[in-house]
Symmetry: C2
Subunit: 492 residues, 2 copies
């Protein structure tokens, strides 16, 4: 089974597609660009949701729900926003079907045309700020800290499972504040929530930084991002947090009376992560045998495979396994005993490796006799024979080691593939090899665009942590003075 | 604040609308028929989700996610299904906007017309069964037990917050089985999960039964339902579970090879509950002061209001309250100390009554001195002075009593408003007074339709529990023989 997965070195892109489909994470649906998230993939997404949701609530954020549809006219109110999203949206124009007068199934009823077309939300700033207008009169009504978990639609022409789909699942936080400072602090706080989550749960070393003006969210004054490196050296934007200034408040006329009695427009942030994180997880840690899941997000943390010939052996081993399972579950771990008797152990081993289960325990008649079990660690593929006595504690620590080990490995990979570059000719060849290049940039959109046109590389971020970048130098392209390096890479 | 709520006796319908809006549960959005679910309302929905999701998982059901859009042609494949949903659906016809050539904002780009229109899912049988086709080849692939939490759209012409909205949130379970028996058992099992949930969490006495053929889900062979009685005596369908036979398997050609080597079509169920449950919760238990929330679903179970004149008093009382809060939270209860010092206690009392918080604790300087606290119970409005010593245990038990009390009250109301009726003239006047009438029915769709035309009453269900209905008699309308009574009511 695992043999069917393309090797990374043969075709990284095909390897990714193989993993998504063969590990039962997701598949293409009958609707162009829309995916079906299968139970195993959805269980990972649910774990992500649960951890993030808890982190948001700790910051005082509350969940709410806003409409799927946005009136077309709302879109036009914020000029940059409409420019950013109008070219890739699903438009609802009618509200009824009817029997085809010519007898060919059903057709759209021309009499059921909407007065104003509705856009399926690509993001909800406009509908939310039209709502906040009713919620805010005085400084006492602020801040508003809302988040919603929902689906959004962006009509992408080229789609890839999890990474870029027409419909995807995400959370979008939308906050309203009395001062610019408070909103900027909120945007910063949330990008660091994302960074903590990426590092501690996804085992993903990320660089936190600002986007360059070219790469900002449509309508934002500042966009903060977390950028991760995939195993092919490309960058993946894993989450963003925007300081929106008063743009949306002005577009939807959301004002409040301050403590000083004066009317002022409200300050805004928005921030989101999506099912794209699933793509990051797969591409950052997977190997040629399949997924490698960090224990913090693995739907099954420990799988047990019995090895037997007779029914007696099977029963005795399974009894022991259910005992161990119970003990591990009591410690909060999720455990599966693979008791299917139509499949051979080797097949099961390959299947659970493909699915990235962090720890596999195998037990045969001799193990049972000796009071031992074979422990296989997915991330390093190491095997060890361990005594049943004290096994729970051993596994508990092992899961912690694996979580840490996966992060360390990804960090080492990133460290090996991030380097300074100060020569334009060198840049052009180096950037094609993958990895991040730390370069000086003159701060202009023109230079950024020219570099992109010539190499496909973009400024992933102007880092605020993870690399020391503040030093004097000259722009790698224009030679003009620069006071800090930025991260260039080719990205997903 | 609470005074602004219309009395139930004055205008039940307005009372309901007042409660939804003034208790901060939901509001109308800028999009016709679509609601905004506000944080307080959403927190209740999250509690419902969490409990139900746990109950589903105990039954072996896994969550997954299927596309928002359904190709128009899929709709036509199941004849009854398309008839049931085609008249009220949102149709996506284009995938791009463009700047208006005449300079008036943005317009739909006529060049971006979809080859085939997409329907925003009103329910997902068709897209899911088109997916299951790829998942099933052999009996080994069955059963499939999937559920999804998502939004759906039905273009209702007359909408009411929570009860009937163009977009609503729900869960839809879709299962696939090798035998008819297994599928029928699954449909039964799930309606009983809903009934348990309604009774134990929502404190809602429901009647479980079959829908008459007229009222079945479009495409089902059998629909099971839970029916609740609201305080105006009307019925509210709170959840349904369908045995779909092989209809969708045949429409999407989903066959499997049985153990005997023969090809057979797969058997199906689907089942769902929605944000409509929020409406049931409000209408079943609320009173003229506002919401009455069962503790099992209350986002805040205990609210504490300090009563003081001086800052010293305030500090001393709040210190004590935070102590109590900590102890109650350690027992798993959610507690809020209302320490806002810009509002008077009376205002706070009214606000938390409006929001239905089950228990309110008030403490003044004399209480502090005496080691007592005033305990107010939302459901009965009873007040008691209780010693601080052992308070946690008292509150813990009180919350249990309230949960039970709310159910008992609703059950007593239903019992008082459910009666047998054997005379058609009597039926016509009695049914207008509200309540459920247990009547004989000849089993024909014609009779059912005539009764509906003359009185607006429908058969809510043919009960399988909650009332003894099996007895010989004559149809209340046609006089033809009948072997059991059914439940008639006017419904939401």
């Amino acid at each position: 089974m695992a043999k069917e997965v393309t090797k990374r070195s043969d075709n990284y892109s095909q390897w990714y597609n193989d993993l998504v489909v063969k590990a039962d994470l997701a598949e293409q649906s009958a609707v162009r660009g829309c995916m079906v998230i299968k139970p195993y993939g959805y269980a990972i997404w649910e774990k992500m949701q649960s951890v993030l949701d808890g982190m948001f609530k700790e910051k005082g954020v509350q969940n709410a729900y806003f409409p799927l549809f946005i009136p077309k006219s709302f879109f036009s109110r914020e000029a940059e926003h409409v420019a950013g999203f109008a070219k890739e949206c699903a438009v609802v124009t009618h509200h009824r079907l009817m029997n085809d007068p010519e007898g060919k199934g059903v057709v759209v009823d021309p009499d059921a045309k909407l007065e104003e077309e509705l856009i399926v939300r690509p993001t909800s700033e406009t509908i939310i700020w039209s709502t906040y207008k009713n919620w805010v009169t005085s400084w006492r009504d602020l801040p508003i800290l809302c988040n919603q978990w929902c689906n959004v639609v962006r009509w992408e022409m080229r789609t890839r499972l999890f990474l870029r789909t027409a419909e995807f699942l995400w959370q979008e936080g939308h906050t309203a504040h009395a001062t610019a400072q408070e909103a900027e602090d909120m945007a910063k706080q949330m990008v660091h929530v994302y960074a903590d989550f990426a590092r501690n749960c996804l085992a993903l070393p990320v660089i936190v930084g600002h986007k360059s003006p070219n790469e900002r969210f449509a309508g934002a004054l500042d966009t903060l991002t977390i950028e991760a490196m995939m195993q092919d050296g490309k960058a993946l934007q894993a989450g963003t947090s925007h300081f929106l200034g008063q743009n949306f408040a002005k577009s939807f006329d959301v004002q409040f009376t301050g403590k000083d009695g004066k009317q002022e427009y409200v300050w805004a942030t928005s921030w989101g992560v999506s099912t794209r994180l699933m793509g990051a997880l797969i591409m950052a840690h997977g190997d040629d045998n399949g997924l490698v899941l960090p224990p913090a997000l693995a739907p099954i943390q420990v799988v047990m495979v019995p090895i037997y010939k007779s029914d007696d052996e099977r029963n005795a081993i399974l009894d022991k396994m259910y005992e161990v399972k119970k003990a591990l579950e009591a410690m909060g771990h999720s455990v599966k005993v693979d008791d299917r008797d139509t499949l051979r152990p080797g097949f099961k081993f390959a299947e659970w490796e493909l699915k990235g289960v962090p720890v596999r325990l195998a037990m045969g008649p001799r193990d049972l006799q000796n009071g031992t079990v074979e422990v296989h660690r997915r991330d390093t593929l190491e095997k060890n024979t361990v005594g049943i006595e004290g096994l729970e504690k051993y596994i508990d620590e092992l899961l912690g080691d694996i979580q840490k080990g996966i992060y360390e490995k990804a960090l080492a990979f990133r460290t090996a593939n991030i380097r300074k570059c100060d020569d334009w000719e060198e840049f052009k060849t180096e950037i094609q090899k993958g990895g991040f290049l730390l370069c000086h940039w003159d701060g202009t959109a023109e230079t950024e665009q020219k570099i992109k046109d010539e190499t496909k590389a973009t400024i992933r971020c102007i880092p605020v942590d993870s690399c020391v970048c503040e030093e004097e130098g000259k722009c790698i392209y224009s030679g003009k003075p620069s006071s800090r390096r930025v991260v260039f890479a080719i990205s997903y």
